[in-house]
């Protein structure tokens, strides 16, 4: 290897000078087009410090990284906000050697953040995966992307090749797998089931993947963005990480902002940042806004009157019954009909059931039908009781979180847009019902502009 070749070895953790704590963090060095090559990535962040795990398990340095992630308070960015260090402890402490799975499926129709990381910053993601693997003593990393994400797949494949070419001897085996693109395929147990040769459908848990996952080995499944944060914490430490964000949700997050906004796209925010600052960063709204769906199609609606006061952190959003989920911020314009939009989303969510659990298969279908009748003004007088009953028959009765997640946007829409639903129940479809749908679904994805524009920052 020539002296100038990029290398991942020989860090100087003590000598690493943390960059300013400000934004951008993850998106540092991102380019308008194409991926950051290994050399460019190293120029931005420097080499990944040696973790010292890998083939030799249970080293002190490895335990130190997990402790650092715990101190950083990193929560998963796939939607559930589960403490990352807790999963890592479980895999590191298991008897068998672990495997790391990078969950890059991003089934959320209104989310583009993971795709942005794969396409533009593949080495940051791989650094995080390598650091996580070394920390938990795993010798194998599987990046699992959605089969339709052609640009991201190409970008990761090239990045893996670049690393092999750079002759790093420390890295665990890196490989790429592609999985089907349906909504529940990204659920942890579904992903593990698929990698074990089964269908990409959730399984009955426990055992959880971190106990018994790919090839029966303890498996750390982490979202793409979560691992990108790990790559930075491994370099700059917990104290640096906590300089942004809130005490219970430290650090930054990528959010996908879409709807009637001048510059829709992926933005990096500090947890706790105001929604208005994000909208300003997006160039402002281009229409009056009726509400915002936060967290995506497992998330909840917040009505227009509250939007000015919204802070983008889970502790704040909990009071509104919402969460940041996978970082989706979807604005709905005043002209759109929230009833018609909700009906379409409810029908789509019913169709995304893996069709394994009766209450999910029948319950979500019945709920979508009830909402269709309501929107058409042909539901009976006791429609509210019917919705309540269906919700109680759906909640907590599936093997995975899909049925519960699906209830969130539907029930919160019924609450936030009460007047609109009542109006439809009495008078049937409104003028807005015949307008083209606004909320993105796979058959009507986010606009080209959203996917093309590279992030700015608030």
């Amino acid at each position: 290897m020539s002296a100038s070749a990029p290398t991942l070895a020989e860090p100087g953790p003590a000598g690493v000078q943390p960059p300013a704590p400000a934004l951008p963090r993850l998106l540092s060095g991102i380019r308008p087009h194409g991926a950051l090559a290994l050399e460019q990535h190293l120029a931005v962040h420097g080499p990944l410090p040696s973790i010292g795990g890998g083939r030799r398990r249970g080293s002190e340095r490895a335990a130190t990284l997990i402790a650092e992630i715990e101190r950083a308070g990193l929560l998963g960015h796939g939607g559930a906000a589960f403490p990352t260090a807790a999963k890592m402890h479980a895999v590191a402490g298991a008897r068998k050697r672990g495997i790391v799975v990078v969950n890059a499926l991003e089934g959320e129709p209104a989310s583009l953040k993971d795709r942005t990381l794969l396409e533009s910053l593949p080495h940051l993601v791989l650094d995080g995966a390598v650091a996580a693997a070394e920390a938990v003593g795993a010798d194998e990393v599987i990046v699992c992307a959605c089969e339709s994400a052609d640009v991201g797949i190409e970008s990761i494949a090239r990045a893996i090749e670049e690393r092999a070419g750079a002759g790093s001897e420390r890295s665990p085996g890196l490989r790429l797998a592609t999985a089907p693109s349906h909504y529940v395929a990204g659920q942890e147990s579904a992903l593990v089931n698929f990698l074990n040769g089964g269908p990409a459908k959730p399984t009955f848990t426990p055992p959880m993947p971190f106990e018994q996952g790919v090839r029966q080995r303890p498996t750390l499944v982490n979202n793409v963005e979560t691992l990108a944060h790990v790559a930075l914490i491994a370099r700059y430490g917990a104290a640096w990480f906590r300089e942004l964000g809130t005490p219970t949700q430290p650090g930054s997050a990528l959010v996908t902002l879409s709807g009637p906004i001048a510059h829709p796209g992926v933005y990096e925010i500090e947890h706790g940042a105001s929604l208005s600052s994000l909208i300003r960063a997006g160039g402002g709204s281009t229409a009056r806004v009726r509400g915002a769906l936060l967290g995506g199609y497992a998330g909840a609606w917040v009505g227009a009157p509250h939007l000015d006061a919204v802070a983008l952190s889970n502790e704040h959003l909990a009071a509104l019954g919402a969460s940041l989920g996978a970082g989706v911020v979807l604005l709905l314009s005043e002209d759109a009909c929230p009833v018609g939009e909700t009906v379409r989303v409810a029908r789509w969510l019913a169709g995304q059931s893996a069709r394994q659990c009766g209450p999910c298969v029948h319950g979500l279908d019945a709920l979508a039908t009830t909402l269709e009748e309501l929107a058409g003004g042909i539901a009976g007088a006791n429609v509210a009781q019917r919705v309540d009953r269906l919700a109680s028959l759906i909640a907590r009765r599936g093997a995975c979180g899909h049925p519960d997640g699906a209830l969130n946007p539907i029930l919160s829409a019924l609450d936030v847009f009460q007047a609109e639903f009542a109006d439809h129940a009495r008078h049937g479809p409104c003028a807005g019902c015949s307008r083209p749908a606004e909320l993105p679904l796979p058959e009507r994805p986010l606009s080209e502009a959203t996917t093309r524009d590279r992030p700015a920052r608030p």
């Binding site: 559930a80 479980a90 659990c357 009766g358 029948h362 009765r397 093997a399």
Partner: protein, 74 residues
């Protein structure tokens, strides 16, 4: 040590045997799937629950010993 009943919703095919054999804990929803009261079983209920679990054609009814501590869930 306490026991609870739980359903594996993937395995369950709504045969409804459990509701026949353990009506004190299980009712059926409008599609025939069990709605389970998962609070701890008392006395003879444990025996009834085990009988119901054995009778399930798809082995979807589980009688679980309560875990010492809640497992981490993701």
């Amino acid at each position: 040590m306490s026991h609870r009943v739980r359903v594996n919703p993937i395995a369950c095919e709504a045969h409804g045997m459990c509701a026949e054999l353990l009506p004190e804990r299980i009712t059926l929803d409008e599609w025939g799937y069990p709605v389970v009261d998962g609070t701890p079983l008392h006395g003879a209920q444990v025996e009834h629950a085990l009988r119901a679990a054995r009778a399930c054609p798809t082995f979807a009814l589980l009688v679980e010993r309560e875990r010492k501590r809640e497992r981490a869930r993701s």
